[in-house]
Structures are given as structure tokens and as C-alpha cells.
């Protein structure tokens, strides 16, 4: 029987049992699902059981109070309910249920697993981000199973109809089952490769939240918060992977500027014009601490380098006093590891501050990025600073054509209009 606290007189239920359950759900859903997936070897069985356990909690906790270990209660309740249900179903010759019962019996014989490296959530995230799944499916599964987001929430976050998202999740789960994608932390030889795809999924979730590719709002903070939560989990579970720490640092440092980067009208404010008093100093301190810890290891990877670049911004009171030569040097290292035109484009932005917009424009014009709207944003800004108004105007138009995001378009339109204003000073 699942353990419940008796409703003793004089010790009434907590003031907000529903909120308690909500909090336990946010914090423990992923772990509960991961443990049950290990026990039953089946995602659907695990999800259904955990949801049933939370439903039971909603019925009982308000009257009886939350148990001393709510997460343990959820997992135990979910396991017991699932075993009861599967036994009934396997008695009716349900092959699927029989397999899950067998799996549970053999999982019970395995030695108890302890320690962060064997955390069930880590196995599950490697399953969700398996390279044989499409990126969109990796993202959806990770948010669903580890983040506990509902199908409707994920659909809203990625602006797709709910049935489309439901189908995407169902297909991915079927593939995991039918193709036999294992619930396992990859062996050492494959770990670096596989970790890269896990980190990429988390960063993609963060970026979709930070600069939404479409819609009215520039950012969807819920998604970024979820990505940071996943980043913290990975950093805690894999403390010896500097890139996991680097990704967390990068997300924290980027997120520290969230409130400063949109004006009261919702329009985007570029880095140079942001009110740095509004940057979140706690996030910056945490991110910079992680960057320093990474630097001591001296195994710089792309996330660590990007985090280090953002850490430099966090130190400076304004753009004029930013150590741009240091940023260019970090971009040089990043470009050596990731020789892509997008990295070269961002490096050119820093070069503009060291060698002037003319030097940067020469670098930018060599890049074959005409289909990437940020390329036009950068070009437009450099041309504007060089006083080449007509070309800047064209570049702003190209930039606006390339983004569906209303806040960003508003910003670009304003910049474009400012080109027509009479120039001040020289």
C-alpha cells in the first residue's frame, strides 16, 4: 500500500496543498518518470503511472496532508499502481503488459543504484536526445518527459497545433520502443558525441525561449527557465563535463540580460543601449563563477567560450569600457573550434568595436549568409555607422523580411526610420 499520512486531529492539512502538489510535480515529475521507465522499460506505462499517482495525491493530500517524502510517495504509489494494473492486463494476454511486468521483475533484482552518475534522469535524457530521433522530436520528448510539460504547453511554446505535437510525441515514443533505443548512458567512447546532442537540445530550448523565432513576444521566458533547469540538472549529474558547465554558464549569463533587452513597448533593445543596472547580478555572478571553474580545467569547448564572451560583457559598466580585444580573442578560439560563417559573423561584431565598422564590414561581406536574417541586421548596423544610408536602408529591409518576430521587426523598422533623420554632429 502506498504510504499516506493519517489525518490526525490538531494537525490539519498544509495551507496550500494544491500548490505543494504543483511544486512537487514541477520538481519531481522527471525523476519519477525516469525511475519508472527503468523499472518497466516502457515510457507510456511510466507516464501513465506517474500521472495516476499525482491524481491520487490531489485527492488525498488536501485532507491528509503531504507525506514526509512527497517524491518517494509519488514513485512508490506509481510503481504499485502500475504493477497492479499490468498484472490485470497481462492476465488478459496483453503482450505489452506482460513484457513490462517481466521487465519490472528483473529490474527488481538489480542492485540498488546510487550516485549521480547513475541517476535515472540522465539515462532518460540520453534516450530522448538519441541521434536517431529528429531534433524536433528530441526537444518535445525532453520537455515532456524530463520537464513534465503537457503536450498542450509544448505545442503552444513551438506554435504548432496540439494534435501535431501529440502525434510528434507519439511517433517518437513508438520509435523508442519499436527500434529499441536503449535507456542507457552511452559508453565512454560515444559519450562526447552523444553529450553534444543532449546539450544542443537544451540550448535549442533555451534559445527558442530567449529569442522566439516567431510570434508577438520576443521571448518566452518559461522555455528558457525550463532549459536552465535542465542545464542545472546536467551540470549536477555530470560535474566532470566542462561543456555541461559551460552551457549552464552561457544560459545564466545570457538570461541575466533578459529584462534589460526589451523596452516598455516590447521592442528589442540592443546590448549597447541596455540599462545595465537592470541586468541580474546574481545570475551574472553564478555564471562567471562557472566560467572561472571551467577555465581552471583548461578544456575549452564552444559553450565555455561563448560563456566566457558573455562573462566579459557582464564585467563592463558599458560598451565603451568593454574589453573588446579580449572578446575578439575568445571569438578567435571559438572560430578555430567551429569554423562556421555564423561564428565569423559574431566575431565581426566584436571586430567593429576594436578596428572600426569598416574593417568589420569587409569581414561580413565575405560571408555567404544571405539567407540568415542576423547577417542583414549586422550589415545594416555597420552600414548605418559608416553613414552609407541607402545601403543600410536596403539591409534593414532584408533583415525585416527575414524575421517573423514582431518585437524584432519593430526594432528594425525604428532603426531604419532613424536613417532618414538629419544626422547630428559630424
Amino acid at each position: 500500500m502506498p504510504r499516506t499520512e493519517p489525518a490526525t486531529p490538531g494537525r490539519g492539512p498544509g495551507p496550500h496543498p494544491e500548490r505543494d502538489i504543483e511544486r512537487v510535480f514541477r520538481e519531481e515529475y522527471g525523476r519519477a518518470v525516469a525511475v519508472l521507465v527503468r523499472i518497466f522499460g516502457d515510457i507510456d506505462v511510466a507516464e501513465e503511472a506517474v500521472q495516476e499517482a499525482f491524481t491520487t495525491a490531489l485527492e488525498r493530500w488536501p485532507a491528509a496532508g503531504a507525506p514526509p517524502s512527497p517524491a518517494g510517495w509519488i514513485i512508490t504509489t506509481a510503481r504499485n499502481r502500475a504493477i497492479d494494473r499490468l498484472r490485470r492486463e497481462s492476465a488478459r494476454e496483453d503482450r505489452h503488459a506482460q513484457a513490462a511486468v517481466l521487465h519490472a521483475a528483473s529490474a527488481g533484482r538489480e542492485p540498488a543504484e546510487e550516485g549521480p552518475v547513475r541517476d535515472d534522469r540522465l539515462r532518460l535524457i540520453f534516450t530522448c536526445c538519441h541521434p536517431s530521433l529528429a531534433t524536433a522530436a528530441q526537444v518535445a520528448l525532453t520537455l515532456r518527459l524530463l520537464g513534465g510539460l503537457s503536450t498542450a504547453e509544448i505545442a503552444r511554446a513551438f506554435l504548432v497545433p496540439e494534435p501535431t505535437m501529440a502525434q510528434r510525441l507519439a511517433r517518437a515514443k513508438n520509435k523508442i520502443r519499436d527500434a529499441g533505443i536503449p535507456y542507457r548512458i552511452p559508453p565512454e567512447a560515444e559519450l562526447a558525441d552523444r553529450l553534444r546532442s543532449v546539450l544542443a537540445v537544451v540550448y535549442l530550448i533555451f534559445n527558442e525561449g530567449y529569442s522566439a523565432s516567431s510570434g508577438d513576444r520576443f521571448s518566452r521566458p518559461e522555455l528558457s527557465q525550463e532549459a536552465i533547469r535542465l542545464g542545472r540538472l546536467l551540470a549536477a549529474l555530470m560535474p566532470d563535463e566542462p561543456e555541461a558547465l559551460g552551457l549552464l554558464a552561457l544560459m545564466l549569463l545570457t538570461d541575466s540580460r533578459r529584462v534589460a533587452r526589451t523596452g516598455p513597448d516590447g521592442a528589442l533593445i540592443p546590448l549597447a543601449e541596455q540599462d545595465r543596472q537592470r541586468w541580474d547580478r546574481d545570475l551574472i555572478a553564478e555564471g562567471q563563477g562557472l566560467v572561472r571553474a571551467c577555465l581552471r580545467r583548461n578544456q575549452p569547448g564552444p559553450y565555455q567560450l561563448q560563456a566566457a564572451i558573455n562573462a566579459v560583457h557582464g564585467d563592463a559598466p558599458d560598451t565603451a569600457t568593454t574589453s573588446w580585444p579580449q572578446i575578439v580573442r575568445l571569438y578567435d578560439q571559438l572560430l578555430a573550434q567551429q569554423p562556421t560563417p555564423v561564428v565569423a559573423l559574431h566575431r565581426a561584431v566584436a571586430v567593429a568595436e576594436v578596428d572600426g565598422p569598416g574593417a568589420a564590414l569587409r569581414l561580413v561581406d565575405d560571408l555567404d549568409l544571405g539567407r540568415y536574417h542576423v547577417f542583414h541586421v549586422v550589415r545594416a548596423d555597420l552600414l548605418r555607422r559608416l553613414g552609407r544610408r541607402d545601403e543600410a536602408d536596403e539591409a534593414y529591409q532584408a533583415a525585416m523580411a527575414g524575421t517573423q518576430n514582431a518585437a524584432e521587426r519593430a526594432f528594425l523598422e525604428r532603426r531604419r526610420r532613424s536613417l532618414q533623420a538629419p544626422r547630428q554632429g559630424i
Binding site: 527500434a179 533505443i181 536503449p182
Partner: protein, 117 residues
């Protein structure tokens, strides 16, 4: 054990000359022997070229016989292996060796039914 189909896709056109093909076939033989030694081999072979294929289509009460292949394309199924593996990662590891050896794209696809042993 699960069972997987490893399909090898070949480009249209002449096969590589013997001095190139020889060493590749030798390496494929080594992989096959390893699969057999590990009890993972079920069946596999190279196929004759697509122009040797014949297609049958049920139509009303009749079955139409035509010159194949079923799908015309720049690439065709050149051969396949059926292997037993505990999970997709193990099957992909074998598939990867075939891809590295032949330089050809490989498709790894699970069967609906597990192997009996």
C-alpha cells in the same frame, strides 16, 4: 533479442573496379564472421542489379507481371543483412562498420517481432 534489417544503398552505375572492390569484400567477410561468432548473424547477401527484378501487381482478379524494379531511383537496395541485437545502439554499431567499410549509406530498421532466442 530484437532483430534489425541493415540495408545497403548503392548508386546506379558500374561497380568499382576489382582492385577497389576486392579489399572491401574481404572486410565485409570479416564483419560477417564476427557477427556469426557472436551469434548475431541471421542472414545477408548482396542483390543482383535492379534490372534483374520483376514486379507483380494484383489487379482485379489478375496479377500483372512487369519488368522491375518497383522503385526507379539514383540509388537502389544493393544488399541487406538481418542481425540480432539487444538494442538499437548495438545494431547501429554494426551498421556503422558496414557504412565505414563500403562508404555507402546504410538503413537500420527494426523488425516487428523479436528473435525467439
Amino acid at each position: 533479442m530484437k532483430q534489425y534489417l541493415l540495408s545497403m544503398y548503392q548508386p546506379q552505375g558500374d561497380p568499382p573496379p576489382p582492385e577497389v572492390l576486392g579489399p572491401i569484400m574481404e572486410k565485409l567477410g570479416v564483419i560477417r564472421q564476427e557477427l556469426i561468432d557472436e551469434g548475431a548473424w541471421v542472414f545477408g547477401d548482396g542483390l543482383c542489379p535492379p534490372e534483374t527484378a520483376t514486379v507483380l501487381r494484383a489487379k482485379d482478379d489478375d496479377v500483372l507481371v512487369t519488368d522491375g524494379p518497383f522503385v526507379e531511383g539514383k540509388e537502389y537496395l544493393g544488399g541487406f543483412m538481418i542481425i540480432k541485437a539487444p538494442d538499437l545502439d548495438v545494431a547501429l554499431a554494426w551498421g556503422r562498420r558496414y557504412a565505414e567499410t563500403t562508404g555507402l549509406p546504410m538503413e537500420v530498421r527494426p523488425f516487428q517481432t523479436d528473435a525467439s532466442d
